[in-house]
């Protein structure tokens, strides 16, 4: 199902209605002999069961915004009717102050510079600043997005974030069994965590760093051993 | 070169005739110079520094503004004629950049910058003569210039240099002594006795360090007395000059009005 690929490898994706994910490029001026689709990243090549979606999975630390991904950002500036938000990408994203649940012209959320927000990328175009929203544009409900108060922000690799979002991943359930915790995972390499005691938050943060494939790469048994030393 | 000179002779005198703990002459000139909002010329013996303060004023570079407090920028210029050996130091000189960064971070926690959001306070330090104790002169002059500009400070910052010759501590070193013996500069805030700046280079035993460190802290209080006197007499001279003008009836009313306004602010 998956194979390790290097940039420039030809991909045997053949389908009428083909969707290419990150790390793949259609070779437009390919002649008859050359492959029509090539990889642009090193990583593992994956495809959906019916072969209609293909993508390359790799690990990196720099976030490239893509529409509909949830991210965690830091407010860096207030500009007129909105905010500029650092989401770890090459450019700051903009967040309109009306893009919150229940926000009206009169009643806008008041975020300070330095606040954390959990938001969704609503627009990511290569020639434009990315745009964020803190609600679902159709229902106008918050859906869990909005300002994150208290807690702590852990930075990790992008792969780690994707792993944490996988419901089958062991880490969060393992920690959750020990003490109650809240977590918001952004696709941009940032995880916000909160628990009752500072020492518990520190434990979560250290576990995430230890499990991160870019750092310690610990497995479940290793984390259990680590947690044993942490006194939580 | 210094080894031929006796730092402290048998009679207990130093090369310029001072005793161990004697400070050099300190003169302070707080008179108005040019368009600066505040300035001070401070002389410690043959070391002389002129500091001019401008601001708080609109920041020239928008990238330097901070939304919650004022930015302090410090520029140090060492006159080419200030040392025996005439040489021009460029602005990129690491030693000068360090000096400027030191002055900036010394005053950042002392100046009440949070009263002036989005503004900038510019401090220009002009070193006119150097004979040891450059950092102490810069710090003392900057304190006085800021006070003179009416910028709110939590306290004075008073700096003194010191050194140890074999086992005897000395205060307020000249260039000759500075080159020869381990030296320390300490800047303290006299109200609380807390130390904002300590620098020491060259090797010194921990116990000796403690001795000179405490001594320099005490000497800072003497410097504080001098600085306080200077500020007092400058203030009273200005107040006296203002009093010489006619008192218009509206003034006192205005003062009361100010008071009310301010009460509302808090």
């Amino acid at each position: 199902m998956s194979a390790t690929v290097l940039p420039g490898t030809g991909v045997p994706a053949q389908r009428v209605n083909l969707k290419l994910g990150p790390g793949l490029l259609q070779n437009r001026d390919a002649n008859e002999a050359g492959p029509s689709i090539i990889t642009t990243r090193a990583g593992t090549l994956n495809h959906s069961a019916n072969g209609s979606r293909w993508w390359v999975e790799s690990n990196s630390r720099r976030y490239v915004p893509a529409p509909q991904e949830s991210v965690i950002g830091v407010i860096v500036q207030r500009v007129g009717e909105g905010y500029r938000v650092d989401i770890g990408s090459a450019h700051y994203a903009s967040l309109d102050s009306l893009a919150f649940e229940g926000a009206t012209k009169r009643n806008k959320p008041n975020l300070k510079v330095g606040s954390l927000v959990y938001a969704r990328v609503s627009l990511a175009h290569k020639d434009m600043e990315p745009e964020l929203e803190c609600f679902d544009a159709q229902t106008r409900k918050s859906e869990g997005f909005g300002e994150l108060k208290g807690g702590f922000l852990v930075k990790c690799s992008l792969k780690m974030c994707r792993d944490l979002l996988d419901p089958k991943h062991f880490l969060l359930p393992l920690l959750g069994a020990r003490f109650p915790l809240e977590a918001a995972v952004g696709m941009n390499g940032r995880v916000w965590v909160s628990a009752k005691e500072p020492r518990q938050i520190i434990a979560i943060s250290r576990c995430i760093e230890a499990v991160d494939p870019d750092g310690g790469g610990l497995d479940e048994a290793g984390v259990k051993a680590l947690l044993g030393t942490l006194d939580v | 070169m210094g080894s031929r000179v006796e730092i402290l002779n048998d009679g207990g005198f130093r090369s310029d005739g001072r005793r161990q703990f004697e400070l050099r002459d300190m003169t302070i000139d707080l008179s108005q110079q040019g368009q600066a909002d505040g300035c001070a010329v401070v002389t410690h013996g043959l070391t002389q520094v002129l500091v001019s303060v401008f601001g708080p004023r609109e920041a020239k570079m928008r990238s330097q503004t901070m939304h919650d407090r004022a930015n302090i920028s410090v520029e140090v210029n060492v006159a080419a004629f200030s040392t025996g050996e005439r040489r021009k130091r460029t602005r990129g000189d690491k030693r000068i950049l360090e000096l400027a960064a030191t002055i900036k971070s010394t005053f950042e926690p002392v100046v009440q910058t949070n009263l002036y959001p989005r503004s900038q306070i510019d401090v220009y330090v002009q070193v006119l003569q150097q004979d040891g104790g450059l950092l102490q002169a810069c710090i003392n002059a900057t304190t006085l210039a800021l006070v003179n500009a009416g910028i709110p400070l939590l306290d004075f910052v008073c700096a003194v240099s010191g050194g140890v010759h074999s086992t005897s501590p000395l205060l307020d070193l000249t260039l000759l002594e500075e080159n020869d013996i381990p030296n320390v500069t300490v800047a303290m805030m006299p109200k609380t006795g807390k130390v904002t700046l300590v620098t020491m280079e060259t090797r010194l035993h921990v116990d000796r360090f403690e001795e000179i460190f405490r001594l320099a802290g005490d000497a800072g209080k003497v410097i504080h007395g001098e600085m306080k006197n200077a500020v007092r007499s400058r203030t009273s001279a200005l107040v006296a000059a203002m009093g010489s003008g006619p008192r218009v009836g509206g003034v006192d009313v205005a003062a009361d009005k100010d008071g009310d306004d301010r009460m509302n602010e808090y």
Binding site: G150, P198, S205 | P109, M200, E201
Partner: protein
């Protein structure tokens, strides 16, 4: 685009946990990260890691003609390569940031001005030939406290380095290849180590040694102490920042005295271990 300052929750959490004497990486306030020293195949190549902060130091020696003013002394030069973390600095391109200036000046004071290396022993033939040492420091990654890491890498590299043996007969200088005669270590007067402490504006927060990147950015002042295991201070540097009680400063100094002794033992042990391993290779 300058990097944004840490967010409010990060700041509040750090302050709250430090008040309980908890640090994010599980250390005690006065506990350093254990340095990991990795020696390269060549003598004088050391990689020093404090957590994720990494600095590589390498020493090269070559023979040059001494300067006319100091015919009996060898010379040394330090080069620093900051490139990888320049990105994170806040200053405009081309001008050194404050942190860069501090580190540069501090390295100069700790390694050169404290006379760690005996310069006269680098003389081969007075006025004719002396050794010139070049120490290059490569800053690979910054996870806080680059200064201590760089100082440690520098001094260990100098201790690790060995120069080829030289024989002088009359005016004739013969350099012996390492295969002929065992190379000679440098004459080191003393081994200064640097310790950095971070202070916070809230007086109820204890000072922390060896601050991490977040601690360093949120701190309100740093105090660096460089000293050797013989209780001799080389540099004490607190450039502004939050004012401290004189007794607190002296307490910090005595903590550093203790740490220097421990670190000296660790470094000596590592150097000996490495040297033993090399001996086996030769025979």
């Amino acid at each position: 685009m300058r990097p944004p300052s840490p967010s409010i929750p990060e700041k509040e959490f750090l302050v709250a946990s430090l008040k309980e004497s908890l640090r994010l990486d599980g250390r005690l306030p006065l506990e350093t990260r254990t340095p990991i020293l990795t020696f390269g195949p060549e003598l004088g190549w050391v990689e020093c890691a404090l957590g994720k902060t990494r600095v590589v130091a390498e020493v090269e020696g070559k023979m040059v003609k001494p300067t006319p003013e100091r015919p009996f002394e060898g010379s040394s030069r330090y080069t620093r390569r900051y490139r990888p973390w320049r990105r994170a600095s806040t200053s405009p391109v081309g001008r050194a940031s404050d942190e860069e200036v501090t580190i540069t000046r501090m390295l100069d004071k700790v390694l050169r001005r404290s006379d760690a290396v005996d310069k006269e022993s680098l003389c081969i033939l007075a006025g004719q030939r002396v050794w010139h040492l070049r120490l290059t420091l490569h800053f690979l990654s910054d996870a806080g406290n680059m200064l201590d890491c760089a100082c440690l890498a520098g001094i260990v590299a100098l201790k690790h380095f060995r120069r080829p043996d030289v024989e002088v007969i009359g005016d004739e200088v013969t350099v012996h290849e390492p295969t002929e005669r065992a190379p000679i270590p440098l004459a080191i007067h003393h081994t200064p180590f640097c310790f950095t402490f971070a202070f916070f504006p809230d007086p109820s927060i204890p000072p922390v040694i060896d601050p991490s990147q977040l601690e360093q950015r949120l701190s309100a002042g740093l105090l660096s102490v460089a000293l050797n295991a013989q209780r001799e201070l080389c540099v004490v540097q607190k450039l502004g920042g939050v004012p401290l009680d004189p007794d607190d400063v002296l307490k910090i100094v005595s903590v550093a005295v203790q740490k220097a002794k421990e670190l000296n033992n660790v470094v000596d042990a590592r150097l000996r271990e490495d040297w033993e391993a090399r001996k086996v290779e030769v025979t």
